[in-house]
Symmetry: C2
Subunit: 167 residues, 2 copies
């Protein structure tokens, strides 16, 4: 969207803008996950990140399907939110001097990413339904369900073992 222009005139414009926001965000997440996989020590956590990398690639393809269904170009827009969340994740990880504490920090960072995705997909699904695009909403819902499951898995890992080893 352009500076000093007001390009979002309808709910459909807002929907397309936010699709492009999360499309950019998913790509940044995909680029950052290999670094998180490398930094994780806990085997289950490492494996969890690997699974999420595969899921993220699939979620990007799902977004491309939604762009196509909705008849708009698949492209990203600048997303300062995910840039900030990932910058903070990298800053904090770089400050941690113990591998079990680093695992706890990585889980928290990954959960911040998940929650960003959960909120964006939630809005997108509500708007898609309101716009009469139940077909798009159904595809986006598949991703939302995956993100919620990933957040829950991360939570279980934190509570069941990673935090305990870090303490």
């Amino acid at each position: 969207m352009g500076l000093f222009t007001k390009d979002i005139k309808t709910l459909n414009d807002l929907f397309v803008h936010t699709l492009r926001d999360i499309y950019y965000a998913e790509q940044q997440i995909m680029k950052n996950l290999p670094d998180m996989i490398e930094k994780a020590s806990d085997r289950a956590l490492k494996k969890g990140f690997e699974t999420h990398l595969a899921e993220t690639k699939n979620q990007i393809m799902r977004l491309e399907r939604v762009f196509k269904m909705h008849g708009v170009e698949a492209k990203g827009v600048n997303c300062p939110a995910i840039d900030g969340i990932l910058e903070e994740a990298s800053d904090v990880a770089g400050d941690v001097d113990d591998k079990t504490v680093l695992d706890a920090a990585l889980i928290a960072a990954a959960q911040a990413v998940e929650h960003y995705e959960i909120t964006r997909y939630g809005s997108l699904i509500a708007w898609a339904k309101r716009l009469g695009r139940n077909d798009c909403a159904a595809v986006l819902q598949e991703t939302l369900d995956e993100e919620k499951a990933t957040d829950k898995k991360l939570n279980d890992m934190a509570v069941s073992g990673v935090n305990q080893r870090a303490a």
Copy 2:
């Protein structure tokens, strides 16, 4: 935390760092809410943001109580995540050229903020319990419950009326 130093050596350090992260974040949210109140057209939404401003001030005081209980200085640290989320909220709001669509965008922006807080308080509570600070966890839980309730209220407002008017 310093550049090129690894200042987080224990789970307690990570807990204190993240307390300071959310302390800074709450202050930025407090500074940004008046602008969101001004931009909102829907009366229930405007009132919802006003209520949340009062809650945020209380949440900041609660954090100061936790700092004191835990015997560490109440201060903020740089939090690129909330800076990015708020920058994106402001960018998108500035791009919207219709007041009902703006309300839908404001709700989505506020929900992104809530989800950031939900994830951070969730991690803080898990770590506080693991560190044997159930007293701190209980205070932080009060805020987490408020944030979840706010997110749900925003969701209900979006689904029940704001998105419909925007469509």
